[in-house]
Subunit: 405 residues, 2 copies
Amino acid sequence: TIDLDRLMGRIAALGRIGALPGGGCKRLALTPEDAEGRALVTGWFRDLGLDVHTDVIGNCWAIRPGRSGGAPVVMGSHIDTVATGGLYDGVLGVLGGLEVIESAIQAGIETERPLAVAFFTNEEGARFAPDMMGSGVAQGGLDLDEMLAKVGIDGVSVAEALAAIGAAGSHPVGALAPDTYLELHIEQGPVLEAEGLAIGVVTGVQGISWSEITVEGQAAHAGTTPMALRHDAGLVAARIAAEARAIADAFGPPQVATVGRIALTPDLVNVIPERAVLTVDLRNTDEARLQAAEARLFAQAEAFAAAEGCRLSRRTLARFEPVAFDATLVDAVEAGAAALGLTHRRMPSGAGHDAQMFAPRCPSAMIFVPSQDGISHNIREYTAPAQIAPGVRLLAQVALARAGR
Amino acid sequence: TIDLDRLMGRIAALGRIGALPGGGCKRLALTPEDAEGRALVTGWFRDLGLDVHTDVIGNCWAIRPGRSGGAPVVMGSHIDTVATGGLYDGVLGVLGGLEVIESAIQAGIETERPLAVAFFTNEEGARFAPDMMGSGVAQGGLDLDEMLAKVGIDGVSVAEALAAIGAAGSHPVGALAPDTYLELHIEQGPVLEAEGLAIGVVTGVQGISWSEITVEGQAAHAGTTPMALRHDAGLVAARIAAEARAIADAFGPPQVATVGRIALTPDLVNVIPERAVLTVDLRNTDEARLQAAEARLFAQAEAFAAAEGCRLSRRTLARFEPVAFDATLVDAVEAGAAALGLTHRRMPSGAGHDAQMFAPRCPSAMIFVPSQDGISHNIREYTAPAQIAPGVRLLAQVALARAGR
Ligand SMILES: NC(=O)NCCC(=O)O
Ligand SMILES: NC(=O)NCCC(=O)O
C-alpha cells in the first residue's frame, strides 16, 4: 500500500522549483533550478537513510540493501524538464520509485536483491542534445567525453554546467549496473485516455532522429533585391519545415516530424536572411521507415537549398534506433496489471526514455499512465492522482517481484 | 570640383565605427555606435564653422547661410545601418552633402538660399519599426509621441534609446523646413551595374508594407503528439514564408516579398512551437497591386492558421504608399546628368528613403549611383570611388542650381 498523498505532495513540492507563472515548470538540465531539484530529491533519499551515489555526469541513485546483495532492481527516470514543462514528465518515475521504497520500508517488506531509485542527467535533451544523455553515458551507449563537450542552446558545455552547479560525483561510468530497470512514466500522448485505459504496457520506444540543418544564403536588401537574385536562407528553412510535415503526412502514423527551432541571421525585417539554423525531429517505430523519412527530408532540403543558391550543412544531434523492451519483463508488467485488475494495453512509446538506454544492458521495461488530452511538454500536462496510484502500485508489484520478496 | 579623397577618407572613418570582423558595419539606430557616428559627423560639420541643429527625435542638420536667407536646400540621408550593413547606405548622402558644402566654401561659391546637410534618426527601421522614422516625424508624416513609444527588437523604446545616448535636441518637429530636398544614395540593387550606367534618376519610391504576424498554437511533445492533433505555430509561420515567395512569383516584378524575422517559442528541438512571430515585408510600385499582395498574404495566413487550429494576430510595423518625386526636380536631375555627360536612366527606388518623407512637403528627388552586384544590407556592399564621384558632382550641380549661385 502506497501513500498517494505523500507522493502527490512531493510532486507538488518539486514542481514549485522552476515554477512558471501559468503553471508547469522550467527546470532545464544542469541549471540552478535543476540543482535545487536535485537537492530536494536527494534530501528525501537521505531522509529514508539511503546512501546517495552520484556519477561523473551527475546521475544520482539511492539503494535500499537486499537480503542477499547482488545487482539492484532500479526504478528511475529524470527530474529535468523542457522550458514549457509539466510536473509529471520524469518526476513521476523518480518519486514513484521513491514511494515504492518508502512504503516497502514502512511495511517491513524486505527483498533478496537491493532496490534502487535513480534520476539521470539531461533526459530531455532540451538544453543539451542528445536526450537521454545521463542514462546513455551510464550504460555505455554514449561516450562520456563526447557528452561532456556538448554545447547547449545557451553556449555552455555539459562539463561547464556540471561544474557550475557541482552536480558531478565520483562514481565512474558503469557504477550503476542494474539487474532490472523499471520506469513509470506518463504516456505524454492521447492513446490511454482515448481508450479509457489505466495502464500502458510499453513494448519499446520508437526510433529518434534529431538533425540540425544550417542554411547559408546571402544577406541582401528586402526592397531592392529582385526575387530571381535572392539566396534566402530563411525561405529554405521554411520549405524544409513544410516538407517535414509533408513527410509525416505521406508516411502516415506512426511517423511524426517536427521543426522545433528556427534561428535566422540577421533576423531583421528588411534584410533577406543570410543564415538559418533549424532542427528536425523525426520518429518512427520502424527503423527502415525512419531511414526513408530521413533520406527524403535530407534530399529535399538539399534540393531546396540548391534551388535558392544556398549552401546546406547538417549534423546529427541525436540518433537512436527503435528499442524493444525485454519480452519476459514486458510480460511480467502485463501480468501484474491483470493481477491488480487494471485495464491496460500494450503500446510503443512515442517519447524517448532512460529505459531505452538501459535496455541493451539489462532487462528493462516501462509502465505508462494516462496524460490528460495527451498533452506533455506543455504547462497543461496533467495526470490525476487517481490515475497515478495504479501506476505506482503496478511499479511496486513488478519491482518487488523482480527483487524477490 | 569635389575632393574625392577627402570624401572617401570620411566614409572609411565613419565605417570604422561599428566595424564588423569581415568588413561592413553594424551601427543600429540610437546605439552607442550610432552615438559615436553622430559625434564624428557633427564634428566635421563644426569643423566647417557650421552650427549643428538637433531636433527632439535626434535628427541633425547644419546650415551654410545663403546671400538672401529663406528656406535651405537640404542634402541629407542617414548614418544608421542594419546589423549586416555596408559603408555606403545612407552615409554617402550625408557625407556627399557635406562634401558639396565644403567644396563650395573652398571654391568661394555663394548661393542665394542656404545650403544644408542633414542626417535623420533610424532610417533603416532595423532596430525600431517603422523605417524613415526621423524624417517622417520631422515632416509630420509620423506622429512624434507614437514614434517615441515604439519598442525595438531589444525591448528598448525610442524615447529610452534617445535618452541613453543623449541624441535628442531642442528643436521641435518641423524646425527643418527645406525649400528643396536632395538625396544621393547607392542604388542597393543591380540595375545600374547591369546596364553599365553611371546615374539613376530616381522617379519615386515603391510602396512598403511591413507586418508582424503572431501565431499562437499549442506546445506539445514532438515524439508523442499525433500529427492530426497538432497546433504547430512554427509550421504556420513556415507556410506563410513560403506563401510570401509564392505571391512575389505570381505577381511578378516589381512585387517583392521577404520574411526577415521568425522567432519560435519555446524554440526547443522536441517541443512543437506554441508561438511564432514573423515579419513580412511586401513592396510594389503600384498601390493597388501592393494592396492585392497584402490581401492575399493575410487571407492565406489566416487560412494556414485555421487549418492548423492556431490563432493569428497581425500588426502593421510600417506602411508607406508609393511616392512620386517632384517632376520638375526629377527633370532637373536628369538634365544635370546630361549636362555633366553622365550615362543615366530614370528608375524607381526599391528601398525606402528619407526623401520620400519630404516629398509631400517640398520638391524632393534622389540620385542613385551603382551598387556592386546589386548588394546592400550586406557587409559586401560596395561602390567604387570612381562611381561615387559622378554622383557627388551631380548632387553639387543640382543643389547649387536650386540654391541659386
Ligand atoms: N520523456 C520525454 O519527454 N523525453 C524527452 C526526450 C524526447 O523524447 O524528446
Ligand atoms: N535605404 C534603405 O536601405 N532604407 C531602409 C528602409 C528599407 O527600405 O527597408
